[in-house]
């Protein structure tokens, strides 16, 4: 008996299911008038601290909410809930990133029309979240001054998938001899034209500019997809 081999064409994006779901979410967010910002970074670079301060500072003016992803514990949700904003924890178990389906499930029971801003804090990980579109309007990648200026060169894909880079913990820049020019050069080398902001959520340095940036981007209804496909490069704020 002879067997013959035949090739059949498929041509399907592996992440199609996630992408389709993310597009549907993005449309829902848009229809409800909520501006969605996701945050990615390595563990410990200050996502929760920045978010905690941001929720508190935006609240007098805007209705804000947050989803926060972690492998385990509800510690971050408890921290963020101190701001009185609605917060939900997504525990991913052993999964190293959030996917669009998890965001959709977590949103059940919330009316999106009740919010002006929704923040999604991804699992601390500079590798895996880069491939998954969550339907966000804007993706922030955080990098703290304590991590080393070459972080963007080591993890180019995540920087490239994000729209804006935020350098955090700038109050520690002197103590760790942070080389600002090199860090900025490295960010731009992997994501040409990227907007870069610098903040210290702890001291408050740069927070006004960061909040202003969020307001402006929300007002602009900056609803084009994150650059998982091929979003246009953004202008630098330099």
């Amino acid at each position: 008996m002879t067997t013959e081999t035949r090739i059949i064409e498929v041509r399907q994006n592996v992440l199609k299911k996630n992408d389709v779901l993310a597009r549907a979410l993005r449309q829902q967010f848009h229809d409800a008038g909520v501006f969605v910002v996701s945050i990615v970074s390595s563990p410990g670079s200050g996502k929760t601290m920045l978010l905690e301060k941001t929720l508190a500072l935006l609240q007098p003016e805007f209705r804000v909410a947050a989803l926060v992803g972690d492998l385990a514990t509800e510690n971050d949700a408890a921290r963020l809930a101190r701001s009185q904003a609605p917060v939900k924890q997504i525990t991913t178990g052993t999964l190293c990133h959030l996917e669009a389906a998890m965001v959709r499930t977590a949103l059940e029971g919330w009316s999106l029309r009740d919010f002006d801003f929704l923040f999604i804090e991804n699992v601390g990980n500079l590798v895996c979240p880069s491939s998954y579109d969550l339907g966000e309007d804007m993706r922030l990648v955080l990098m703290s001054v304590t991590e080393g200026e070459d972080k963007p060169l080591k993890y180019p894909t995540i920087f490239n998938s994000a729209d804006v880079a935020i350098i955090t913990k700038v109050d520690l820049a002197g103590a760790v001899e942070f080389d600002r020019a090199t860090a900025r050069h490295n960010i731009l080398a992997v994501r040409p034209g990227m907007t870069i902001l610098e903040v210290s959520a702890k001291s408050g340095a740069g927070m006004d500019a960061f909040l202003h940036f969020l307001r402006v981007r929300r007002a602009a209804g900056d609803a084009h997809a994150v650059s998982i496909g091929s979003a246009p490069a953004l202008a630098s704020t330099d």
Binding site: E4, R6, I7, I8, V14, L95, T157, A189, S230
Partner: protein, 115 residues
């Protein structure tokens, strides 16, 4: 390490396609993988074995075609091959390229079936 999730999606696509065509036996799955897709080939290959075990496509081989990264250099005004995933500088003039035009592919291209 999200290669296992990716491998499971690939298995799912292959299984669906096989079922749609009346349960053809899949011997290989051909995948295009871009240099800038954020997926590690070797990790994906070992994950595939795990993900396909016990499924309709168990025993099939994952064949990965790697696709280079391509950036558009606005100084030279031409697309250029990116040297590495950590550099979007133009390999000719050194300017930071303004746009990525290729290398994010993660696509099941075809299935090899035996009959």
């Amino acid at each position: 390490m999200h290669e296992l999730s990716i491998a499971m999606s690939i298995v799912e696509i292959a299984e669906e396609e096989s079922a749609r065509r009346g349960g053809l036996q899949v011997t290989a799955v051909h995948l295009r993988l871009g240099l800038l897709a954020g997926v590690v080939r070797d990790a994906l290959l070992s994950s595939y074995e795990l993900a396909s075990a016990g499924t309709r496509v168990a025993g099939s081989t994952l064949v990965v075609e790697e696709v280079p990264g391509v950036v558009y250099c606005s100084a030279c005004k031409v697309p250029r091959a990116a040297r590495a995933p950590d550099s979007f500088c133009c390999p000719e003039c050194g300017a930071i390229a303004s746009k990525i035009v290729g290398g994010k592919e993660l696509e099941v291209v075809s299935l090899e079936i035996s009959e």
